[in-house]
Structures are given as C-alpha cells and as structure tokens.
C-alpha cells in the first residue's frame, strides 16, 4: 500500500483552508502541538506542515497564478530517512508513510537539509523535527466514521482539490486521476521518487477577443433588442 496525496493545481484557489485544518488537527495527535513563534507580535511565525506557495506561470496576457500546497511528499526513496543518524526518521513498510519518532529525534536538522521540498521543520520548543504525518492518527482511527478517516486537509478543501488514496491500487481515485490528467512529481531529477502528485492546470483556450466590427445583421439585431427591452 502506498498512501499519498494528489493535489489538483487546476482547482486549487489558494484559500489556505488545508493549511489551517492541518494546523488545527495537529494541535494534538501523534506529533503534538505545532509551536507558534510570537503569534500576537510583529512577525508571527510557527511550525506548519502544509505551506501554500503561489507562482505566476507565463507572462501576461498568457499567464496564470498557480497555487502550490506543499507538504511531505512521502517519497519512495526518502533521503530524509537515509540520512537520519538516530533512526528517528522512518518509512512505514505497510503504507509508505514517512514519520518522525519524536522520542528519538535529536534535532540535528540533517533531514531538513536532505529534503528538497522543505517538508520538515524544527520545532524550537520541543527540539525535534516535525512533518506531515498524512494524518496517520486519523486514517486508521476506528472511532471515526469511515468518511472521516482521511487527512484533515483533504476533507476540508472546499474546491475538492486534494485527493487521498493508495497509489498501488490502479483503480483508486488517486491512481485514476493521475493517469487521466497526467499527474507530475516535483523535482524528479533528484531521484527521490515523491509519492504525492500534482495535476497540472487544464489547457484552456483563451477567450476570443472581440476585435471585429459587428456585421450589419448584428447591429440591426442589437438595435431591435435594445428597443424591445426599453
């Protein structure tokens, strides 16, 4: 089983609801509270698992604003696991989720150096590295209704831009949508084989410019419509 997320860049509007939901869910849970640094002062900052970065692709008038929610990609060849000296960083065999054992981490930052996506952050209060857990404490929780056993960010997305599922199952939602829409991995040349996929924006033809003078028939029709309406 290879669990992961698919994020639809065509649909994401950059509302940051997934970031807020992640922060809220992780107020408790396996990794404990995500620390805020000076939240009510001038430069509020904090530990976040999910960050949305916004890019402009292309030049005006052929440009598009694309919003990139980025959390841990749960890579197949996760180098954050390879380089961890204490063994705190590990990848589960049963579902491929990469986790940080908070009891073993010594906060050396080596895994953050190894992660190209910036998924891991040091929590200065706890002194350990924290990252997206793929809501492992949620997806297996039998006390929740089956439809709630998904990551918090997937459930909360108002535009349904996030999908969660098993990439090893060719008939799952995530596998189908990656195939149909041509899902892409980020920075594949590094060889980390990220599990999370991003669906590119659909190719949309630009709206036709009205640069032709209306024909006589159109102008007469326009005049008749105006007279009738008034």
């Amino acid at each position: 089983m290879r669990l992961g997320l698919v994020i639809d860049l065509d649909v994401c509007v950059g509302c940051n609801a997934c970031a807020v939901a992640c922060k809220q869910w992780n107020t408790s849970g396996t990794t404990g509270p995500l620390t805020d640094y000076q939240p009510y002062q001038k430069n509020p900052s904090g530990v976040w698992f999910n960050r949305i970065r916004n890019f402009e692709v292309g030049d005006y008038p052929h440009n598009k604003t694309v919003h990139f929610p980025m959390s841990c990609m749960h890579c197949e060849d996760a180098w954050c696991v390879t380089v961890c000296p204490t063994g705190a960083s590990y990848k589960r065999k049963e579902d491929g989720i990469v986790l940080v054992d908070q009891d073993k981490c010594m906060g050396c930052n080596y895994c953050a150096w190894a992660c190209p996506y910036g998924a891991r952050e040091l929590d200065r209060e706890d002194g350990t590295m924290k990252k997206c857990t793929l809501c492992v404490d949620r997806i297996y929780d039998k006390k929740l209704a089956p439809e709630d056993r998904q990551p918090a960010c997937v459930i909360t997305c108002p535009t349904h831009a996030r999908h969660f599922g098993d990439f090893d199952d060719p008939n799952s939602k995530v596998s189908c949508v990656v195939r149909e829409r041509g899902g892409q991995a980020l920075m594949p040349e590094l060889g980390y084989k990220p599990t999370n996929m991003y669906l590119p924006p659909r190719a949309v033809r630009q709206e036709k410019q009205h640069d032709r003078r209306p024909s006589l028939v159109d102008r007469v029709r326009e005049w008749v419509n105006r007279s009738v309406m008034r």
Binding site: N16, N43, P44, S45, V47, W48, R51, I52, R53, N54, F55, E56, V57, G58, D59, H62, T65, V66, F68, M70, W79, V81, T82, V83, C84, P85, T86, G87, A88, D103, K104, C105, M106, G107, C108, N109, Y110, A112, W113, A114, C115, P116, Y117, G118, E121, L122, R124, D126, G127, T128, Q184, A185, L186, M187, P188, E189, L190, G191, Y198, P200
Partner: protein, 308 residues
C-alpha cells in the same frame, strides 16, 4: 545556508586534529627527517585528541535535542553522520592504545607500528566521513561533488602538517623534509580549493521549472505564503552578496595558503611555523564559513530563486 559557528568550529578543529595525529603516526612509520621522539608523539597526540574532542563538544551545540545524541550512531548503515560518529568514537581507543605504547616505551614493536597504521587509516576515514555528510546531499548541488570530501581531507592534512612541523621545531628536531611536505599540502589544498570555487560559481542545478513541473513557461514566485520568516528561510535563506563572497575567497587564498607558504619557505624557525599554522587556521575558518554560506539549497527555488 546559514553558517553555524558550532559546526564550522567542529569540522575545522576535528579535521586539523585528525590530520595532525595521522601525520604523526605516519612519520613514526616512514622516517621523515628523523624518527620522532617520545615528547613529540605524546604531546602531538594529546593535542590532536584535545582538538578533536573540542570539535565534538562544539558539534553538540548544534543539536536542538542533545538528550538523544547518544542514538546518533545507530543508523551507520545508511547515514554518513552516523558513520562519522561511530568512527570518531572508535578512534579514541585506537589512538589511546598507540599513544600508551609510546608512553610505555614500546615504540619499536610491530604492534605499535600496526596501531600507527590503523591510526592513520582510521583518522582519514573519519575525516572522509565528515566530508561525505555534506557531499552525499543531492539537495545542495554545490556540495554534491567529490571535491567536498577531497577538500576536507586535504585541508585537515594541511593544518595537521603545519602543526606537526611547529611541534617538531619546538622539540628541536630537524624538519627540512617536513617543510617540503608542508609546501606540498599547501599547494595541493590551494589548487583543490580553487577548483571548488571555480566549480560552484555558476548555478547549474535544478531550476524553478523542474521544482514546479512547469517546464514550458517562465515561472516566478508570486507569494511565498508567509509574511514573516520560517524555519526554512532561517536555515537556508542566507545568501551573502557576491562582492563579499569574492573578498572572502581572496582572504581564503591569502590567509589559508599564500602567507603560510611564504612563511614556510622562509627557512623554518619555530616562530614562523607557529604563525603560519595559526594564519592558515584562520584561513580555513573563513573557508568553512564560505562553504556553508555559498551553499544554495533547492528549497530556495520555492522561495524566489530561479536556479540553484
């Protein structure tokens, strides 16, 4: 990349210490000028071990949760940091045994010589592992070359050779061949450092296009998503301006290699060698600072950079 003073001090001090003790052990095996005396070996060995220990203590200041630092050797099968920790810890008994045999007067025996060989190889393996900690990361293209462990080894040996020559002069031993060895290490390390600066100058790694999977158009960061800094910008966002980098590179060449080489070539008095060793040490500190400051992590592609 934010240069952490604790890590800089750790790599420079431990590199110099391993270089000193490796060359000391080597000079007890193959006679350079003369067989070193008991005073040189013991004082040099203890000084080297002190430098190495100071380096390791300094490296623990970099940890946010040092309570778990004892676990840092457990993943030696995959992690170069774990390998380095393990090699460093196991080096102490080897070096201590070798020094003990010299203390007790068994400097001629085969066992002592075998321990000397092991000391040399183990010290070099440890410095190599230190370099590989940085070189194995594909996320920092500047470090991901063979020049990184090469420079760690050569700079450690260079500092060690200067320290050894000063020490032998202090104890009144002949050093004519050691001076040549010093010039050799200074020249080689200087050339390798130049090659490194040449190699990492131009960004040639991943671009923001591959980072966002949009390869067909120009991609620009529009909004990074946070109004204040984050752990990522703090750790990886530091980039000194190019004029300052150029000045610091010149400083590395002058302090690290040129001035010490001139001092060594001037004849070989203890005062000159000592000053050369200290100036070279200062130059290597600047070099290590630049090594971290010039590094560009690929995560900066998500924070405004076009190419690393």
């Amino acid at each position: 990349m934010h240069p952490a003073i604790s890590v800089i001090f750790f790599t420079v001090a431990s590199g110099a210490g391993y270089g000193l003790i490796a060359l000391l052990a080597l000079s007890s095996l193959i006679t350079i000028d003369a067989m070193p005396t008991r005073g040189v070996v013991l004082s040099g060995g203890i000084a080297a071990l002190c430098a190495i220990t100071a380096g390791f203590v300094s490296s623990t200041f970099h940890l946010a949760n040092p309570r778990n630092a004892w676990r840092a050797m457990s993943r030696f099968r995959t992690s170069w940091l774990a390998r380095e920790g393990l090699l460093a810890v196991l080096f102490y008994p080897i070096a201590a045994l070798w020094l003990l045999r010299w203390w007790l007067g068994y400097d001629d025996s085969v066992i002592t010589q075998a321990l000397a060989v092991l000391t040399v190889l183990w010290a070099m393996a440890t410095v190599f592992s230190t370099g590989m900690i940085y070189a194995c990361l594909r996320t920092i293209p500047q470090w991901n070359t063979s020049l990184t462990p090469a420079n760690y080894l050569l700079l450690g040996l260079m500092l060690g050779s200067l320290a050894l020559t000063s020490l032998r002069l202090y104890w009144g031993e002949p050093v004519s061949r050691m001076l040549v060895v010093n010039i050799g290490f200074l020249a080689t390390a200087g050339i390798m450092k130049f090659l490194y600066f040449f190699w990492v100058g131009t960004p040639s790694g991943p671009t923001v296009n591959t980072a966002t999977s949009f390869n067909r158009a120009t991609v620009r960061l529009f909004d990074v998503g946070h109004s204040a800094g984050t752990f990522l910008t703090q750790e990886f966002g530091y980039q000194p301006p190019m004029p300052r980098i150029r000045v610091l590179r010149m400083t590395v060449y002058v302090l690290g290699f040129i001035v010490p080489a001139v001092l060594v070539a001037m004849g070989g008095e203890f005062n000159e060698l000592m000053v050369a060793a200290l100036i070279s040490l200062a130059g290597v500190f600047v070099e290590r600072w630049l090594f971290f400051a010039e590094a560009r992590h690929v995560v900066t592609l998500y924070h405004g950079r076009q190419q690393v």
